[in-house]
């Protein structure tokens, strides 16, 4: 069971309080009706599924209820950072450097 830092609560808590919510920074298009079938399928289904640092979303489902973003290494399952929804995508190179 991994531990997750909730950026809203400011606490690191057991995974059981959280729900995974898929890849992060996939923005629902402003005007869906203008999307091609390919674009819409990509929005719905295509995912990076990376082995290594992964941008993803979690929800503190049994806590503050907020969705937030995270970068986690999918090989070690360790988080580099978690950050609030709406905050920009952190610089990955810098994160990796800091985690060394």
């Amino acid at each position: 069971m991994i531990q997750i830092h909730c950026p809203y609560c400011g606490e690191t808590l057991p995974e059981l309080e959280f729900a995974y919510a898929g890849e992060a920074h996939i923005v629902r298009p402003e005007s869906p009706s203008e999307q091609t079938d390919e674009e819409w399928a990509a929005f719905l289904f295509l995912r990076d599924n990376v082995k290594g640092p992964h941008f993803e979303r979690w929800r503190h489902a049994h806590g503050c209820g907020r969705f937030f973003n995270a970068v986690r290494n999918t090989i070690t399952d360790r988080f580099y950072i978690t950050y609030k929804a709406g905050e920009p995508r952190p610089d990955l190179a810098k994160l990796l450097e800091e985690s060394k």
């Binding site: 069971m1 531990q3 729900a19 923005v27 009706s33 399928a41 719905l44 969705f67 929804a85 709406g86």
Partner: protein, 996 residues
């Protein structure tokens, strides 16, 4: 005093005899004994039979790594478990034990014919045969193989014991309470940290329990141990015995299982049998020690052949001499001490056989002094004796040449192939290992966890080395925890350090192909099996392991992995690390299922959610069904009624007068804020901007893929407040989905969501007399068609309770849903129930609800839809606000396949022969086609208990909306049913009955 017990020795209590049985025969042991030590005290070595060859076996070890001495243990009805290690199970008065895997008896086992035919049962033999004739596998070969395999028998009764679990957070967890672990604990104690020291044994001390001769800082080992543990306890260290760290999970989470009652003669009240501790430690120290390796030679499995270190344990910890005339065979110094100690205890050691040509002078001198014959540079090539060893064949080694053998009589053979660090938990951390050529073993290297490993588990031998290492190594953890790292110095006298060499199979003068030199004892894997696997192309240690089953027995390779690796590496001509080590997998030792299940069994397996009205239903004989986490009343049978009869009665009564239904489980979400209407409008397909306060509207919720996810009635309470309902099972999903869109996609909207599912008890009353029943209880509000038309809502007082009263119907009858604060639900229900007697009010459950709604063609999401159905498929295009700029699912609905022709569409079906279709039955157009048939749909709902004069069904049928009046066919196993495609509304298509 039993024959082989030494008075005044060991840590057993001579004043407390304990009587237990083994295979029906009573034995007397002492408090503190294990089954194995007590049997050995009586000279009983034969304790089990092996897996494949059914060879007689005795205890080879004295701890949890034991592969041979597995027994069944029983404490009266329901309390039986197979495969218990006799070397771990403590005895208590009345304990019943039995041997396993034998027929008819342990001493005469017919399964041992396998042993005679052992040449056939080589590694992988079953992959090469049993293929002809084809039909024999299922009927003959496999049943035979299955019956021969397995060890003990499964329990056959429900377990009457309880199990528990707890979370524990601490600063420092130390696994293993031998010298290294205790020394680590000493440095951590008294510094304001929460420290936990845990050991799987019934008492702490590890090696010290088997080596009382050593003197630590001037104290005898056992005095030192006692003082040290007392000091730790005094300093607030949590000491846990009989507690096994079974697995090392992410970020220093350790699973530990504490055995609470298996050693007790009587079971205390309210005490679980075992408890799972889920520990999260900031720092972990692993001090699990090392395991002794067997030597691999022909006949190394005969009862009486035992690890030398284990013989030491039996002698010092239990006061048991495992033999009166033992022979010691070793490639490591440590076994020499076993010979010395046994000799000192009155045994006559027949010989110390060491494979090494040169051994430390002091050891040789000591052996001479004690009068023990020594054979350096010798090998063992055979043992004799049927159920217990009585002779051993010893041959001189000259380089690779094996000289002539000589038989030596003995009653025990104590072996040592050296020691292997215990790296199991370290490996669970995904820690890396490094091969050490000198020690011929893997040692721990790096781990990603906050974890330190110390003592013998990193290859250090001797008490002093372990103490010093524990004391020093814990410093890193202490520094990380922000306290001062201190180091204690230790002086240990009479410490026993030693070295050795690693052997593969011992050299022999016999045909290697015929040698039964066991590597994995329990699974009967021999050295030649390993070599055969390599010969057949198995190059990875994983392949070798899987092909031979080496290391897959209940000791999980504790006895066999390193010997297996050494032999496989030799066969491959590679270094060990190139062949690899098989992964250590949790749990460290086999762990009771109940300990994982914990409290979650029976009634408490999973939460059962109950409405506030559930108690009334229970008292009124409702039959319940599980729906998601809820239990819901399915129907209310009267005495002698079947479900069909009850449902028919409930349906008729509701259509005739009035029925009452507990709808409290429906999901409810309060949507509040200036942008509430905008939000609901974006989420649901229907237009909501113009819905007036006081009005309700049906809402359909899609996923962005365009498929129906949920539905419900939505009431606008005020301009900025909506009361949204969802399906019972969908409540949590829908709220999560809404929060996701709100927080992630539309954070600019000023609207908030609150789950009010449980704020309200919801009582539905339906039927022609519903308004009449309800009116007297509604304060200052007229339930007339004009004042309160269908699909309206109002906040009023009902029966004295504040209520949200809705005029809605899921039955086609005049219907109301009265929402009152949850605790008042039952009182409201009972009030209406009492008053309803004047109208023959009938309580109905979910089954009747399903029938009544189906008669009106109202869908149930998840039954009439299945996650691949669009609103158009469901005939609910009317619910789609096509003029809206966007809603969730709008774009998805336009995908090519969702607008394709001939999609499955929801229709009604009426059978020609008036029979009732089975839900899930498949529909075809041509009933005479051969199998596989072209299916065009299936029956989603079907009922015959309703109020129509014929059974009704709903179905999804390809192009169904354009097949009205056509006949389709439902082929059943015994006949084909013809049905006419109809609309989905079977009762009151004009909705006349909805009018008050």
């Amino acid at each position: 005093m039993s024959k082989h017990r030494l008075r005044g020795r060991g840590r057993v209590d001579a004043s407390q005899p304990v009587v237990f049985t083994f295979d029906g025969k009573p034995y007397t042991g002492l408090k503190g004994d294990t089954v194995a030590s007590a049997l050995l005290a009586h000279g009983v070595h034969l304790m089990g039979r092996s897996f494949k060859y059914h060879r007689p076996r005795g205890a080879i070890a004295a701890g949890s790594e034991e592969p041979n001495a597995l027994i069944g243990t029983r404490r009266g009805p329901g309390r039986f478990e197979p495969n218990t290690r006799a070397t771990v199970q403590e005895i208590w008065d009345g304990l019943e034990t039995n041997s396993q895997n034998k027929f008819p008896s342990l001493k005469w086992d017919v399964g041992a014919v396998n042993d005679a035919a052992y040449m056939l049962f080589s590694a992988g033999f079953y992959y090469k045969t049993f293929m002809w004739p084809r039909s024999f596998w299922d009927k003959v070969y496999e049943p035979f193989i299955r019956a021969a395999a397995g060890l003990g028998v499964s329990p056959s009764e429900e377990d009457p014991d309880t199990y528990a679990s707890r979370y524990l957070y601490c600063d420092l967890l130390i696994v293993g309470a031998g010298p290294a672990g205790i020394a680590a604990a000493r440095e951590a104690a008294g510094k304001g940290l929460s420290v936990v020291l845990v050991d799987e044994n019934s008492e702490m001390g590890g090696t010290l329990l088997s080596e009382p001769q050593s003197k630590i800082d001037g104290k005898s080992a056992w005095t030192w141990l006692e003082d040290e543990l007392a000091a730790l306890k005094e300093a607030g260290v949590k000491l846990m015995t009989r507690t096994t760290a079974i697995g090392y999970y992410h970020e220093n989470m350790i699973g530990m299982v504490e055995k609470l009652t298996d050693h007790l003669p009587t079971l205390p009240a309210d005490t679980p049998r075992e408890r799972m501790w889920r520990v999260r430690a900031k720092q972990v120290v692993l001090a699990q020690g090392a395991l002794e390796k067997p030597l691999v030679f022909h006949g190394n499995d005969r009862p009486g052949v035992m690890l030398a270190g284990s013989a030491q344990t039996y002698l010092h910890r239990y006061g048991v001499k495992v033999g009166e005339s033992p022979v010691v065979v070793t490639s490591h110094d440590s076994a020499w001490y076993a010979a010395f100690d046994l000799q000192a205890a009155g045994a006559y050691v027949q010989a110390i056989v060491d494979t090494r040509p040169q051994v430390r002078q002091d050891l040789q001198a000591e052996a001479r002094t004690r009068g023990i014959p020594v054979k350096l540079g010798h090998t063992v090539t055979a043992t004799g004796g049927r159920l217990r060893i009585n002779t051993v064949r010893v041959n001189p080694l000259n380089g690779t040449h094996v000289g002539n053998g000589q038989w030596i009589k003995c009653d025990a053979l104590l072996m040592s192939g050296g020691w292997t660090p215990s790296l199991h938990l370290f490996s669970h951390t995904k820690g890396s290992l490094i091969w050490d050529d000198d020690l011929t073993t893997f040692l721990p290297k790096d781990t990603p966890e906050d974890c330190i490993i110390t003592g013998a588990s990193r290859g250090l031998w001797g008490v002093e080395a372990a103490l010093k290492d524990g004391s020093v190594r814990v410093g890193e953890a202490l520094s990380k925890l922000g306290v001062e790292a201190t180091v204690s110095d230790y002086t240990v006298a009479d410490d026993r350090v030693g070295t050795g060499v690693t052997m593969r199979e011992l050299p022999t003068d016999r045909s290697a192909g015929k040698a039964k030199a066991f590597v994995d004892f329990q699974n009967d894997v021999t050295a030649k099996d390993l070599r055969l696997a390599v010969r057949e192309g198995m190059r990875s240690i994983e392949h070798v392991k899987r092909y031979t089953t080496n290391g897959m027995a209940t000791d999980q390779g504790k006895m066999s992995n390193i010997n297996g690796l050494n032999i496989a590496a030799d066969a491959l001509g590679k270094k060990q690390p190139q062949v690899g080590l098989t992964t250590f997998r949790p749990p460290y030792t086999p762990t009771t299922f109940g300990a994982f299940a914990g409290y979650h069994r029976g009634d408490h397996f999973e939460v059962v959610r109950k409405t506030q009205i559930d108690g009334w239903a229970e008292e009124n004989a409702a039959v319940f069904e599980p729906v998601g986490q809820w239990r819901r009343a399915r129907y209310f049978p009267k005495a002698g009624e079947t479900m069909d009869q009850a449902v028919a009665r409930e349906c008729a009564a509701t259509r005739a007068s009035v029925g009452i239904f507990d709808a409290s489980t429906l999901g409810k979400i309060e949507v509040v804020g200036p942008d509430a209407a905008e939000f609901v409008n974006r989420m649901y397909t229907n237009p909501f901007m113009k819905l007036a306060p006081g009005k309700c509207r049906y809402g359909l919720l899609l996923g962005d893929d365009g498929y129906i996810r949920d539905d419900g009635v939505i009431a606008r309470i005020s301009d900025e407040r909506f009361h949204v309902t969802t399906t019972t099972g969908g409540a949590a999903r829908v709220l999560t989905m809404m929060e996701d869109y709100l927080q992630t996609e539309w954070p600019d909207l000023n609207v908030w969501l609150t789950s009010t599912t449980e704020q309200w008890s919801t009582v539905a009353v339906n039927g022609p007399n519903a308004a009449k029943l309800l009116q007297p209880f509604v304060k200052d509000f007229a339930l007339t068609e004009d004042n309160f038309p269908h699909m309206s809502c109002v906040e009023v007082e009902v029966a004295g309770y504040p209520a949200r009263l809705w005029r809605v119907s899921f039955t086609g009858e005049i219907g109301f849903e009265i929402n009152v604060p949850a605790p008042y639900g039952r009182a409201l229900w009972e009030t209406l129930w009492d008053a309803g007697q004047a109208y023959d009010i009938t309580a109905y459950g979910t089954e009747t609800m399903h029938v009544l709604r189906a008669e009106k063609g109202y869908i149930i999401v998840g039954q009439d839809t299945d996650g691949t159905v669009t609103p158009y498929d469901a005939g609910m295009g009317w619910a789609v606000g096509t003029k809206k700029a966007d809603f969730v699912g709008m774009r998805g609905l336009k995908r090519p396949d969702l607008v394709a022709k001939n999609r499955k569409q929801l229709v009604g079906l009426v059978t020609e022969d008036q029979s009732c279709l089975e839900e899930g039955a498949q529909i075809v157009l041509d009933p005479n086609q051969p199998i596989p048939m072209k299916m065009v749909g299936h029956v989603t709902s079907s009922y015959h208990q309703g109020t129509t004069d014929h059974p009704i069904a709903l179905a999804l049928v390809e192009g169904g909306h354009s097949k009205m009046g056509e006949t389709v066919y439902i082929p059943m196993p015994d006949r084909t049913i013809a049905a006419k495609v109809t609309g989905t509304v079977f009762v009151d298509p004009e909705n006349a009955r909805l009018k008050i």
